[in-house]
């Protein structure tokens, strides 16, 4: 187990370097951002040159990257164009996005698994069909459509919730955005749970358990559900990273000043320190979430052993 974890952690190093370089290269390929700082006016060359030198933009790509990585290992993620350090931006943005992601994950887990169990146990009935149809619809609607529609209905038409989230982003205001963010994954969780449950319901060990005369509830919770949730747990684990990165659309619609907001701003202004810094952290979150999911496997299914 220990060796496995160390091996996985070591594997993260090349992934980390590769992904940061790719992102750095892509932002770099967008071209020189300094001209845009001056708006429609042609930049005054002397000032522009100073700013470029300041941001290390007058160096070749590989030097810029090495300089950037060197800075990162000293805990310095660079400075955004408005003069704020990127670490400061992260301190503001990540707690908000983490809270939003947690809300989304909780909604996704509770609603998704309950609906999945519900329709998986009544396979082929009308309830099952309507859940399938409903999830199909949810999966096919893009987040920005459901976001704007729900925001308009809840926020403007019925006035049940504030259409946007205040800067402090308290949990109760994050419920609606969390629901929007969770919707698509929720549909996947439902379908995954349903299929997995339906498949395992015919497995030998379930038949044995039923034959032993165990109460139905115990068969479902202890035997059937525990085994059926393995693929669901994998999905939710990997989804944490996807949700945090994917919050860019939801955060924009509900004006949440989290990671998505900073990424959007950074991309628009071609501010490579912001974009690379935030994505680097997201990559780390993704890698660690994956590792945790793999370790959780062993807990859920004793057949899986890590040497």
């Amino acid at each position: 187990m220990g060796r496995y974890v160390i091996r996985r952690l070591l594997q993260m190093i090349p992934v980390f370097i590769g992904s940061t370089f790719l992102i750095f290269f892509m932002v770099y390929a967008l071209g020189d951002p300094v001209a845009a700082l001056f708006g429609d006016r042609a930049p005054d060359p002397a000032t522009a040159a100073r700013i470029r030198a300041d941001l290390y933009l007058d160096q070749p790509l590989y030097k810029q990257y090495l300089h950037y990585m060197g800075q990162i290992f000293q805990g310095n993620f660079g400075t955004a164009f408005n003069g704020q350090s990127v670490t400061e931006l992260m301190k503001d943005a990540f707690p908000v996005t983490v809270r939003l992601t947690l809300v989304a994950i909780v909604i996704e887990m509770i609603v998704g698994i309950v609906l999945g169990v519900f329709s998986g146990l009544r396979r082929g009935r009308s309830v099952d069909t309507s859940v399938l149809l409903l999830t199909l619809i949810v999966v096919s609607i893009p987040t920005f459509v459901s976001g704007y529609v729900l925001q308009f209905l809840f926020g403007v038409q019925w006035g049940w919730a504030a259409p946007t989230v205040s800067p402090e982003a308290p949990l109760n205001e994050l419920l609606l955005p969390g629901l929007v963010l969770a919707l698509v994954s929720l549909a996947y969780v439902t379908r995954l749970t349903r299929t997995s449950l339906a498949e395992n319901a015919r497995a030998d060990y379930v038949r044995t358990a039923v034959a032993k005369g165990l109460p139905r509830r115990r068969v479902i919770t202890r035997h059937l559900l525990r085994n059926s949730l393995i693929p669901v747990v994998t999905f939710i684990g990997t989804d944490i990273g996807a949700l945090m990165g994917g919050a860019i659309v939801t955060e924009r619609i509900f004006n949440i000043h989290g990671v998505g907001f900073q990424l959007y701003q950074g991309i628009l202004r071609q501010n490579s320190p912001t974009v690379v810094g935030f994505v680097t952290i997201l990559v780390l979150v993704f890698l660690i979430a994956n590792l945790l999911v793999d370790l959780l496997y062993a807990v859920l299914d004793p057949r899986i052993r890590y040497a």
């Binding site: 071209g31 002397a46 003069g83 704020q84 926020g155 629901l179 907001f261």
Partner: protein
């Protein structure tokens, strides 16, 4: 089946709980006090006067600072505020005398030194201020801000403090309307705190205007409150302004509709059709000092060679401005008939119809002129624009449609999108344009000079098309040397007539500023820079 029934109840319970909790989220809306909440965008640069060159930072400057002059929010005329008088005999040497009794909100008095220090800071190359070029007319600018290398002086030799209330300015050329440029943000005075503890100042800037900053959470909200110690004539008529950052103007509009926000000054294009129905007379749509043009790369022989003026005029006549401003912009743009803006007013130099027939839609004449001008180079033209911001594609395509219809083909004119605005600007700066490209000009100060000299004078900073005309340059020089504003404006208008003959840039339309506000507010208006006049807003 008992388990399933239970599950059904659980689902219902969760749904109810969610809905109930969502109801609880309705707080955080508009306060009942006299504070106005307004939409804002995260300023691109640190909040220093000489570093603020876009409208979002400009909003803060307008509330936080008062300078020598201020542009009248209604007429755009430059009026003395802290300046008592600015005198000159030769349009080159100026003596500025200040009024007494002005203070910064930290108690420090506003003196001649506050201005001179601030301007020296703004001009010095090593401070990397984006508005440094605004000080270029002051003597000694080339020493503190050389085109390359390091500065050889730290202060502008053209500035001298006489006493607390007087300082003199020497310009490096005659510039009669120079005092009228002093309402721009770059010329605001700065308190000592700016120089002694710069980092703290940037966290919470201090000014001498009608508002002070109560708190500033970068990237999300700035709370500005009425400054009770403000002695100026235009004290705030509300208790304060909360500037809230939005990245999506659809969201701020939704917030306005839900009563969660009081003032929006950027109506999303998609909502322009509904805005009248939604807001009624709480929707403002008024001219701003912004003109959109199609600029020709005059360095390219296909467009700038001899005898090509007819081609350029012909293209201008092939554009149906009326239809495009009506259908695509829902009348938030007005067809342009000159190269300035209506906000200047007749006295300021705006004159409708300078462009003449060349700006009127006339397909027959257009086709004739294009043929006389040698036709489109290679029978084709591509209109360049940046695809990342603004919805430029719609109107570029409409212009191309209009030109194609005129010429009777459907492939002569196409749009040529460039991925990012920065890339677009870089290509223009590197003279890589091979066809007409979109250009927008937002005035820095409401002067006809600002619409002509920076854009069309030989080698001027924003002369993107590299237009050069000796007669035009001569008239601009003469205009700047005039001592009376009236004669200066007349000379500029003469110079503008040369643009009509040469058509280095096709005037398309004047852009309006638009805003919407909640029923709580009254007396809301936009100034000529399309920024709300915050201090005049009243809250019920």
């Amino acid at each position: 089946m008992r388990g399933a029934t239970r599950a059904k109840w659980a689902v219902c319970a969760i749904a109810v709980a969610l809905a109930a909790a969502a109801c609880g989220g309705g707080g955080g809306g508009t306060e009942s006090s006299g504070v106005v909440s307004a939409s804002w965008g995260d300023p691109q640069n640190p909040l220093e006067p000489a570093n603020t060159n876009e409208v979002q930072g400009g909003k803060v400057m307008e509330m936080l600072f008062r300078g020598l002059k201020r542009y009248n929010p209604k007429t755009g005329a430059a009026e003395n505020v802290i300046a008592d008088r600015i005198e000159t005999k030769d349009s080159q040497h100026f003596t500025v005398t200040l009024k007494g009794g002005w203070n910064f909100s930290n108690g420090q008095p506003v003196t001649a030194k506050s201005f001179v220090d601030a301007w020296n800071y703004g001009a010095l190359l090593t401070n990397k201020q984006k508005n440094a070029s605004f000080f270029q007319y002051i003597d000694g600018f080339d020493k503190v801000h050389p085109a390359s290398g390091t500065p050889t002086a730290k202060t502008l030799s053209g500035l001298a403090v006489k006493d607390d209330k007087t300082f003199t300015v020497t310009l490096n050329q005659k510039f009669s309307s120079w005092p009228d440029t002093l309402g721009y943000a770059a010329f605001m005075p700065l308190p000592k705190a700016f120089f002694t503890d710069h980092a703290a100042y940037l966290k919470k800037p201090i000014g001498d205007g009608p508002y002070t900053i109560e708190s500033y959470t970068k990237g999300s909200v700035m709370k500005m409150r009425k400054w009770d110690g403000y002695k100026g004539p235009d004290a705030a008529r509300n208790d304060g302004i909360d500037l809230r950052v939005y990245t999506d103007n659809n969201t701020s509009y939704t917030d306005l509709q839900a009563g969660n926000l009081d003032l929006v000054d950027d109506i999303p294009a998609a909502q322009l059709k509904n805005v009248k129905r939604d807001l009624g007379n709480r929707y403002i749509n008024q001219p701003a000092g912004i003109i959109q043009t199609l600029t020709f790369p005059m360095y390219d022989n296909n467009w700038g060679g001899t005898g090509k003026a007819k081609l350029r005029q012909g293209i201008s006549m092939a554009i149906n401005r009326d239809q495009i401003t009506k259908e695509i912009f829902q009348k938030t743009r007005t067809p342009a008939t000159d190269w300035t803006s209506p906000v200047l007013g007749e006295k300021g130099g705006y004159q409708a119809g300078v462009c003449g027939a060349a700006c009127e839609y006339d397909p027959k004449e257009a086709k004739k002129l294009i043929q006389e001008g040698g036709g489109l180079p290679g029978g084709k033209m591509a209109l360049a624009y940046n695809a990342d911001t603004g919805s430029h594609k719609d109107w570029i395509d409409a212009i191309c449609n209009s030109i194609n219809n005129t010429l009777g083909t459907d492939s002569a004119c196409v749009g040529a999108p460039v991925g990012t605005f920065a890339d677009f600007r870089n290509k223009i700066a590197a003279k890589q344009m091979t066809g007409p490209f979109r250009a927008g000009w937002q005035m820095d100060y409401p002067l006809i000079q600002n619409f002509l000299q920076p854009l069309y004078y030989t080698n001027a900073a924003s002369n993107d098309g590299k237009f050069s005309n000796a007669e035009f340059d001569r008239l601009v020089n003469e205009a700047n040397a005039q001592t009376s504003t009236h004669e200066g404006v007349a000379k500029f208008q003469e110079a503008e007539k040369i643009l009509a003959q040469q058509m280095p840039a096709i005037p398309l339309w004047y852009q309006n500023g638009s805003a919407g506000y909640s029923p709580r507010l009254s007396n809301v208006a936009l100034n000529p820079f399309s920024v709300p006049v915050f201090n005049e807003i009243k809250v019920q």
